[in-house]
């Protein structure tokens, strides 16, 4: 089959829009707007970025579907939904960036966000190991820069360095795993790999390759025991970067690895539906999931720093999401996609609230949120929606995400096997999780403000962003079919 470059070009129009937007933002900033204040330059770059994201969204919506370029890319419902989700989360991140402290090189900041988004878009659709790795690296390298963008604060630099070291090691594992898989099957096409693996069965070498892929997955998902970067990065990175790392990056990562694992490595999946299931990567994912759930939830209880709390809660959510990936073999990708997308919305929103609060001073400790209901009722109300959605309280989207994932996991084999027990554990730990989310809300909604706390003025765009995120959470909670029908 001759390469179909026209088709490829058409399929990559969203990525092209993003790159074009990034270059225009950089170009204008360096030429016409060089002498303007950094606030104006940030606004210009953000508007260009938002337009590029919207254009990309339109291209995704109206663009082609199905396998592209001989199956290097696949634009199936999961890819389209993830791409739209990533773009929406990027848009919200840009909105959050309007409220945060202005970075020193605003156009570069926005351009790098757009580069990362390009990486996510390719991750969502990649069906070939090489492209998957390149997309992942494009996204990861951009995220390292974003984490360390605030050069005035040592914490930011520390976060970036840790993230980079960790990410580099994970990338090395992943590449090693990929090369082993290539060695075993002679192909980098997922479908061909799948066909070869059904013939071969599970060999020790394949086990090593699988676990190496899982290590990289664990890093991307911030799942224990590969989570250690997360609290430091969430704490040190500039707020919009942290929001971006916690939301869009996670959604794209889960889609990429679910695609690698289920269609690609299905033959080596094993079984966790019953007690004496077959070996494979599923038991390993189940262990990672259990450890993440336990560690994330328990460690979050002890946090006094609200960002570290969000980081540990992210680890716990990664555990639940891995449960969704386990169940995706039977129930399809809809449950974990719904969970990841709505989790991303709530996380972007929560970081957005922190970004606005930071305008009046530091916002690291949970007690920094004291009296938020007095200082800004809007922020307190939005924070309540985000936190309660993270905790899984109906009628917010977080509840339905948990519900679909747990229901899908329980359908695997009831309580007869580890998958069912994991669902049970996750449900029990959700009760625990409510405690630490409520600690944050107690400060925001009940505690009186400190003596010198002033009223917080929320910038218009940030207000709009937060209300949009909160509105979407309520909407998807009340009408989950809007998202689930994408599949």
């Amino acid at each position: 089959m001759s390469p179909d470059y026209t088709g490829l070009f058409q399929a990559l129009r969203p990525e092209t829009s993003l790159l074009f937007g990034a270059l225009v933002a950089l170009g204008l900033d360096l030429s016409l707007f060089r002498r303007h204040t950094s606030g104006e330059r940030l606004n210009l770059a953000l508007w260009i970025g938002a337009l590029a994201v919207l254009a990309a969204g339109a291209h995704v919506w109206f663009g082609p579907h199905g396998p592209i370029f001989g199956g290097v890319l696949i634009l199936d419902p999961l890819a389209v939904a993830t791409r739209l989700g990533v773009l929406a989360l990027t848009l919200l991140t840009l909105g959050v960036a309007t409220a945060a402290r202005t970075p020193r090189n605003p156009a570069e900041y926005v351009a790098i966000i757009l580069f990362a988004t390009t990486g996510f878009m390719l991750m969502a659709a990649a069906q070939q190991l090489l492209l998957a790795f390149l997309a992942l690296e494009l996204a990861s390298l951009s995220l390292y820069v974003l984490a360390g963008f605030d050069k005035t604060r040592p914490e930011s630099a520390e976060a970036a360095l840790k993230y980079f070291l960790f990410g580099g090691m994970a990338a090395a594992f992943l590449l090693f795993g990929f090369s082993l898989i290539y060695g075993l099957t002679g192909s980098i096409e997922l479908l061909e790999i799948a066909r070869q693996l059904t013939l071969q069965g599970l060999s020790p070498l394949l086990v090593v390759a699988l676990v190496m892929v899982l290590v990289a997955f664990g890093f991307k998902a911030a799942a224990a025991p590969f989570h250690l970067w997360a609290p430091d990065v969430y704490e040190g990175a500039p707020t919009p970067s942290a929001a971006f790392i916690a939301s869009a990056s996670k959604l794209a990562g889960f889609t990429l690895f679910a695609r690698l694992l289920w269609p690609g490595l299905r033959a080596a999946a094993g079984n966790v539906s019953t007690l004496h299931g077959a070996p494979g990567w599923l038991p390993a994912v189940a262990v990672i999931s259990a450890v993440s759930l336990l560690l994330g939830n328990f460690a979050a209880l002890a946090q006094t720093n609200v960002r570290r709390l969000l980081a540990y809660s992210a680890i716990a959510h990664a555990g639940a999401l891995l449960l969704g990936v386990i169940a995706a073999g039977r129930s399809g990708p809809a449950p974990f996609f719904f969970y990841a997308a709505t989790y991303g919305l709530a996380t972007v929103g929560a970081f957005g609230v922190l970004a606005v609060v930071e305008r009046t001073g530091s916002c690291q400790k949970i007690t920094d949120l004291a009296g938020l209901h007095r200082r800004s009722p809007l922020l307190a109300g939005c924070l309540a929606i985000f936190m309660l959605s993270l905790a899984g309280i109906p009628p917010l989207a977080g509840f339905f995400g948990k519900f679909t994932v747990f229901a899908a996991a329980l359908q695997l084999g009831g309580l007869a096997g580890p998958a069912g027990w994991l669902a049970f554990l996750a449900i029990a730990l959700s009760a625990l999780a409510l405690y630490y989310y409520l600690i944050v809300l107690k400060q925001a909604l009940v505690a009186p403000p400190t003596a010198n706390a002033s009223r917080i003025v929320v910038p218009t765009l940030a207000r709009f962003t937060l209300m949009a995120a909160a509105g979407l959470i309520v909407l998807f909670g009340v009408a989950p079919s809007l998202l689930l029908d994408l599949f």
Partner: protein
Amino acid sequence: MKMTLSAQHLWLIPALPLLAAALGALTPRSGRTPAAGAAIGAMVLSFLLSCGALATALAHPAAHATANFTWFAVGDGAVRLGWLLDPLTAFMCVMVSFVSTLIFIFSLGYMKDDANFKQFFCFLSLFAAAMLGILVANSLLLLFVSWELVGLASYLLIGFWFHKPEAAAAAKKAFIVTRIGDLGFLLGILWLYDSTGSLLFYDNGAGVLEPTALGGLAAQTTLCGLALSTAIGLLIFCGAAGKSGQFPLHVWLPDAMEGPTPVSALIHAATMVAAGVFLIARVYPLMAADQLLAGVPVHALTVVAFIGAITALLGALIAVAQNDIKRVLAFSTVSQLGYMMLALGVGSWVAAVFHLLTHAFFKALLFLGAGSVIHAAHHEQDIRKLGGLSQPLRVTFATFAIGMMALAGVPFLFSGFWSKEAILHAAHEWEVSHLPLFAGLAAVVLTAFYMTRLVAETFFGKARSHAAEHVHENSAVMTVPLVLLAVCAIALGFLGTPAFPWLQARLLGETEVHGHSLLDGSGLMLGSIVLVALGLGAGWAVYWRTPRAKDTSPDPLASAAPATIAFLGARMKFDELYAATLGRLNTFLAAFADFLDHWVWGGAVNFLALLGEFSGTVNREADEGGLNAGFDATSEKLRQTGQAYSHAQTGGTHGYLRTVAIGFVVLVLLVMLGGGR
């Protein structure tokens, strides 16, 4: 084609007030005009849409036009919701939106001095949205959601003056008592879903009110030999009985009069309390599915008929001995709702709906009239302290008198007569028993009697308190709704006279009206006219002829039979009875639950905490410490566990990377060893 279009857009009717409620919630406290304007504007639009829906429904009265959609799907099952347009929905929507509009306008005047004016309109809009939601729902689930929302709105509005302890207590009581009924309702819904796999009323043959499902429900027997449909029907009736103040769950309704009077008129007289009647009328095919079965211990509708008859008589008896103008009307509402249930039970759901519609207008009229009196008389509600108001409050008096005659069933001119007559006629034709008929006839006398007493005490004689001496007629914003409602209280009866029962025919889905001669069953009609005259005459003889002289002078009836009147005045001691039995039981159960919580669950949670603590020592040495009872200590334990974990987070990158390597090795070994099995 036009029909389905209308059913699809039916959601607009409740959506508009809901939007107004949301806007009201977002406006600042000072935004009185926008909040009230949005509420009234939305209600007017809803009313116009309802009229449109009525026109569509009347064009094809036999059809149940539905618009169903999937709310969400889980696994193989899906939860479906939908809207339903038939004459029952349409008539009810028109009534609710019309009465609501008038009462909203009346509230402009009644609540104008209240600091929480804007909140009031927000709550009223929420209530109207939920009520209209009940009416347009084609799914028992959607109906239940709206049902609970009206319960919430009712709670908020009864307790609107929450600074008064009685109002707060009344709101709580209403919420809890109706919740008891709703528990049965919810169980019924779950059972129905379990048995039929659907909660849609009509779904092209697959709905629960359609023959396939009904046949299956009636064919199965369950507990005590009841047909499944009977059991589910009775559970659903629990909810209806709670909401509609039926014996033995009627105790909350009189207390609900602590709310502002427009609330009493809208929610606790015209609309929400009638929702129970509407619910039974809506699921009537389910309730009646067991009618043809022989050998079952009881039919669902028989229970409904007897509960209705008891409530009708009980409410009328207690109303005789009440002294608060709103309490008299409240117990008369209880009694009239009993009539409606009676009509449902004896098989004439159209008579019940007819009475529901007429009652909504004249009872709203009476309550707004009472509100007008109370507003004019500086919040004096005790009829012993009123009197002589017919001169200063001319409009209020004239309209109140029309409402009173409609309620008392004064023949021919007033709507209440025709609807009550339809109910008595249906009760007469019921083959099972004539006891409900006799209870209904007894209540006719009592109703005429206590309403005469109410009018005589309030409007005649001379003013018996300072508040009653200085009254002025209220502004037009309050009197115009009264006049409009009075017109309806008269005119509506002619929609359903035996000679031309247009309303009944349309509700039954017939396009042709078959009238009867007024002389058919004239014996019964004559009898009830005599009974009304008897009641009016007795009231005239006791209260009108010799008006009360002072507010402290004894009631003539109380002097004649002090023990009986005291017993009735204390509402037959139902509250005391419940406090002594159910209240005690509740206290005992609460103590028991506290014991469980403290020792059994607390112990279990502490045990779990201990496990968590133990696992924390994998990273650090174990904390020592004993177990204390209670959740506070538990939380502290869990926090300590978390700290044990987070101490592993040292910040050193070497350590981090080493952890990754260890994790990798452990996972490889795990999968390998798993492979050896």
